[in-house]
Symmetry: C2
Subunit: 525 residues, 2 copies
């Protein structure tokens, strides 16, 4: 059952009123639901300096799914209109189990035409829709907040074309990233992006959230590698921008609107993407550094000496290593160090790459920038080293309640934030850890506590956002804003820009049915 | 004096009426102006299958610059409000001398604040504005069509910041590309783009037109390398998206709207751009092939063997070589061949790069894919080889009247278009030549005739666009649409997409003052 709060003017009184509503909802609907609801209340009401302060998410006056609506969907998608609460369970809750909606309908279209018919109908009926890919997002963007209809791309999983000359892949939005990677690998190509969630995430979701990941340093962002896309607009109109050309300057590049808009402007149904050749040689080095300054110097040296073959420069701190050892029983492959670096090279000539890597390692070991290290060239060992970086997120989930931040900063400042946060929180936190993509200036700051702790959250936010804004950083490097971060947008974007985003939303989705409560701050409504 | 035609409903009668207006203008304003005017009439009225057929550019009902307006501008920009017709001459006509406006005011702001004040004033007064960078565009996008005020970025030429750790350059929009290249070279970095027009073009114009150029194959498009920009909107509002972060997923990526919108949505005043390290080693090979099929096979082989160090794969045909020899007295550095390839490598290790290049050349010579070739490693010789590719445009201007097409196609089809066009035109054309960026699937098709020839144009268009559309190509790969190609947009974009572009234009520039008559087709008005 959904919490339905009629559209009210918001103010302090209203906020208090809504809080008591949530509390009474607790009694009616059981403990778990209310707990999720409270997280949301806390999240948006927390930050005093936020222009959106005082607004809490309330259910907007969308229609409620009726029996007649269900009849329509069942006729359109026989056997693919899911209403069984047990089957809906996993689609209503996010991967972190931090946000839970109460949708009663999950639709599983197979074609663009079906998506178009669904949206046309929902727009006319003013039914809210939550587009959902692999549901691996970390900011509550991929699940319903109230009773939005879940529109899953899971059955839109066909590769439509692959051109082995140009390396351009065209596929439906619901293809799982890892399946696409395997498909391409057999054809001697790779996907230009790779993420820890590759086994579940959908390419449509990757594009809709402008996912970054582990190969951005080398192959650039999806804004460059996505050559075309097809999206269905809120009114059901199909926008075919599914070009397969590297260059196309005929008018405004509309596809960019949908990349990174988190399903709020349209539902991506297909994409075409430029895929690099599979490298002939891959090497991974796992190194230890005694300070972050030495890590930075190693990065500078690495860019010069590995140049065009450098494909990843990742880091984790000793606290992350501790969690990997403790919770996942992974063994540290080198001696204990304050910082660890994972470097990957990918190139066309194994001998050249090995020589470059050897020269680089010799230089950084001789100059004591790096204190210990190991190198892998065979696939299983490469995977084992990558696990040290990729499984940090998983290790964290075993460490208690997680407060996750995904920050872009000038690269020389990324660890200062972790140090400052540790000092700032003192013994309020269980662990404060930092890892991420040094090559992209992207820090994943994670804070754990035994259980959810409002006092800890109050110490973290808005401190973390103020710190970021003071360095002209971004409060969301690659995770997006979703439900959890949308009201903090003003820490990274000026009001004129946010207002323009609101105008774009109104233009493309005048009834606001697409992924409501996400990405844009509440004060725009 | 400007041609002023009041806003009229368009139809066949109107078209005829406008044509006779243009003819009478001829008598008043002299031969040259009328000739330019006629080109415009022909260009837009030509294509029978174009949905915008029947519309011709007419002066929209903007205000006319009054003495009071001039007084305002002179007070705002003392000594930088140009009204002397001799000084305005070069800003009124494009580089190809194919489009000429009749603007009577050229404004040269130095700061974003001045641009903001100009636009706020023009928007209130409903005065049309033509933003102008280096005026090197090839589609008539950079000059006024009627009496639009020319807003030049020439004095906005300051580097604002350069971060030598990240390689991120922030500068005003009017910086000349070559000056930026020189600035960076001294700091061991390079610009991620390079064009033949680098000595004149402005970075703001490059970004506004999403310029492609010679390094796109390696460093990707400006959609990936431009990290931030500042733009002034039609109403004078300053939109500060001048981020210097590699990753930033906080809301919609507004800067993408301005990249490639040809000054129709806002005036770009500053950009930040990610610059690659200067390569340690550069090599250029100039090769001959006996067929285009062999050229394609050489390309495939090259991508495999040169991999990550390949930075350009360009081609020209023997007709281009003939023009270079005849008009510019450049000597062919190798034996005559039907096709010529220019390959550039850029890498971090000279010995490795030379070995890769040597292995590749041995393979393609042994297998007879390539019939002759020469390699340059020193800078002067590299420049001489690049001149064979870069100066084709210049050679063409000496060959008569030029009909220029800039087409994206699946790479295997790019030369078929030249062959088909030659057959199609027979002896109607003087020369039909093809050159361009094989690595990007981008053909520059050029057709020359002794003088302007309406019958020849009628034979070329819409044939060239229909041919492109049949291959799902783009009728403008990197040049943009400007004035000349805007009505052909439907050959590459579906009507829903074009309509959405119109909505975006209306949202950002409701009075339509920014670069009117450009990019969007006439039928959207």
């Amino acid at each position: 059952m959904a919490v339905i709060i009629p559209g009210l003017r918001l103010g302090l009184t209203t906020v208090r009123w809504l809080k008591s509503q949530a509390a009474s909802t607790l009694a009616v609907n059981g403990r778990r639901f209310a707990a999720y609801e409270q997280i949301r209340l806390i999240h948006v009401a927390r930050d005093k300096s936020n222009p959106a302060n005082g607004t809490v998410p309330r259910r907007l006056p969308f229609s409620i799914v009726s029996q007649q609506d269900l009849d329509f969907f069942k006729q359109l998608l026989p056997g693919r209109t899911i209403t069984d609460p047990d089957l809906l369970e996993s689609s209503n809750v996010d991967w972190l189990k931090s946000v839970k909606g109460s949708s009663e309908v999950l639709l599983r279209p197979k074609s663009t035409e079906e998506v178009s018919q669904i949206l046309r109908y929902c727009n006319e009926r003013r039914l809210a829709v939550n587009p959902q890919g692999g549901n691996t997002g970390l900011v509550g963007g991929s699940v319903p907040v109230f009773d939005e209809i879940i529109l899953s791309t899971a059955l839109m999983n066909q590769v439509l074309a692959f051109d082995h000359v140009s390396g351009i892949l065209t596929c439906q939005a619901g293809c799982v990233l890892e399946n696409l990677s395997n498909y391409l690998e057999e054809r001697d190509f790779i996907m230009p992006l790779d993420l820890g969630a590759k086994g579940s995430c959908h390419i449509g979701g990757n594009v809709a959230t402008n996912a970054g990941g582990l190969r951005l340093l080398r192959y650039g962002s999806l804004r460059g590698t996505v050559l075309g896309l097809e999206a269905v607009l809120a009114d059901g109109k199909v926008l075919n921008c599914l070009s397969t050309l590297r260059k196309d300057n005929t008018g405004y590049d509309l596809k960019q609107l949908f990349i990174g808009s988190e399903g709020t402007l349209g539902v991506i149904t297909a994409v075409s993407i430029l895929c690099p050749r599979k490298p002939q040689a891959v090497n991974v080095a796992f190194l230890g550094c005694s300070s972050f300054q030495q890590l930075l110097e190693t990065f500078q040296c690495c860019r010069g000496m590995l140049g065009e073959i450098l494909s990843a420069f990742e880091f984790l701190d000793s606290a992350c290593m501790g969690l990997l050892e403790k919770h996942l029983k992974l063994a540290n492959p080198i001696t204990d160090s304050p910082f660890y670096i994972l470097i990957e090279t990918a190139g066309s000539n194994a001998a050249h790459d090995e020589e470059k890597l050897h020269n680089f390692l010799e230089t950084v070991m001789m100059s004591s920038l790096v204190t210990d290290g190991t190198v892998a060239t065979e696939e299983s060992k490469i995977k084992a080293l990558w696990a040290m970086r990729e499984r940090v997120t998983e290790a964290l989930t075993h460490d208690g309640y997680n407060y996750k931040y995904d920050i872009s900063l000038p690269v020389e400042k990324i660890y200062q934030m972790v140090t400052d946060m540790r000092k700032h929180l003192g013994d309020k936190a269980k662990n404060v850890v930092g890892y991420g993509h040094v090559g992209d200036g992207n820090l994943h700051l994670n804070i754990t506590s035994p259980t959810k702790d409002p006092a800890l959250l109050a110490a973290i936010e808005p401190y973390v956002y103020e710190w970021t804004a003071a360095c002209r950083g971004s409060i969301s490097a690659e995770h997006g804003l979703g439900l959890k971060k949308k009201n903090y947008i003003y820490f990274s974007k000026p009001p004129e820009a946010v207002a323009l985003m609101g105008n774009i939303k109104s233009m493309l989705d005048p009834r606001g049915i697409l992924n409501p409560y996400k990405t844009l701050p509440d004060n725009l409504r």
